[in-house]
């Protein structure tokens, strides 16, 4: 019983630590959800607007989307779990805890993120949609940066996901 209590407290502490907002700089800690061919899905990296392009750098991989090729930009929100892949593994382990007590982690490890969707076309005219998860509040800033740099974006719609359920 003592072991179980200790395990639960440890997992909860880990969860609380991950649930804190990221203190990283504004352009880092961005997760690539899907859409950039040369970057792995769920890779975390830096998203910047530089030299007339939107750049995403994850380790040694980098992909650029020219600002002039951007057709639209959308901002939404999503509630997800903090801690990335490790967090997911911790949660799976916690499911085995007795009396479904591991579910406490679900409440502790949730975090809200902004979702930035950039619709753009390649030189052949093919449509692409790059989707990124950013720390909360940063997608709108990125959208402003992109539009100031000359990216085309229709007026913000009233997205269903704005009030995304936790």
């Amino acid at each position: 019983m003592k072991l179980f209590a200790a395990t639960l407290i440890t997992l909860a502490a880990v969860g609380l630590a991950w649930a804190q907002p990221a203190a990283a700089p504004a352009d880092s800690n961005v997760r690539h959800v899907i859409g950039l061919d040369s970057i792995k899905q769920d890779a975390t990296g830096k998203l910047t607007v530089q030299d007339g392009a939107l750049r995403f750098t994850a380790g040694a991989s980098e992909e650029k989307v020219p600002i002039a090729s951007i057709d639209d930009i959308f901002v939404g929100t999503e509630t997800t779990q903090s801690g990335g892949k490790t967090g997911r593994n911790v949660k799976i382990v916690a499911i085995a805890a007795p009396y479904e007590s591991g579910k406490v982690l679900t409440l502790l490890m949730r975090t809200k993120v902004d979702i930035l969707t950039v619709a753009y076309h390649d030189p052949d005219g093919a449509l692409h949609g790059a989707i990124f998860a950013l720390p909360i509040g940063q997608a709108a800033l990125m959208r402003t940066q992109l539009t100031q740099a000359g990216a085309h974006a229709s007026p913000p719609e009233n997205p269903v996901s704005e009030g995304s359920k936790p």
């Binding site: 959800v33 999503e78 997800t80 409440l107 619709a119 093919a126 719609e157 997205p159 359920k165 936790p166």
Partner: protein, 166 residues
């Protein structure tokens, strides 16, 4: 005189004929053929509100999964000019009929509520507008994962349908 032998013979005939009828029905559905497919952008029909990130994520995952399935020699994105000269090109259209955004927290805490669900009609048309296939498909996230995971489930189901049809 008893009718029993007649029933036995009829039963035996039915037992022998049933698999043959079933296989004839299966054989009557030949696979369609096309060398290339163009994936159209996901549309929301009848004023259904679905956030842009969900539409783009379904589109991107479809491109990725249909390519990986090997059902077509070439898979083109929407707007790709390279697809213009292909005579037997077919187009995959996905129209969202209903969308319900659930809650990851509810899903993981209760296991029975909070599911995210998207209902679509997937259709395949030829260049001259002939509809080769139209089917309703439902994508769901029932337990684990963020709401955007519904796009992966949906793309998986549509790709399976493509593999079975082409």
């Amino acid at each position: 005189m008893s009718n029993r032998p007649i029933f036995v013979v009829l039963g035996l005939c039915w037992t022998l004929a049933a698999p043959a009828i079933a296989s004839a029905q299966t054989a009557a559905k030949p696979k369609l053929s096309a060398s290339a497919i163009q994936i159209a952008m996901v549309e929301s029909g009848g004023g259904v509100q679905i956030p842009a990130e969900f539409r783009f994520a379904v589109y991107e995952r479809l491109v990725e999964r249909v390519r990986a399935s090997g059902a077509f020699q070439k898979v083109y994105r929407a707007g790709d000019r390279a697809a213009d000269g292909i005579p037997d090109l077919v187009t995959l259209r996905t129209k969202v009929d209903a969308f319900k955004e659930g809650s990851q927290t509810k899903r993981e805490l209760t296991s029975v509520t909070g599911a995210t669900k998207v209902d679509v009609t997937a259709s395949v048309t030829t260049r001259d507008g002939q509809t080769l296939l139209a089917q309703k498909i439902v994508g769901r996230v029932r337990y684990f994962g963020e709401n955007l995971g519904v796009t992966n489930d949906l793309a998986k189901r549509i790709t399976k349908l493509m593999r079975e049809t082409f």
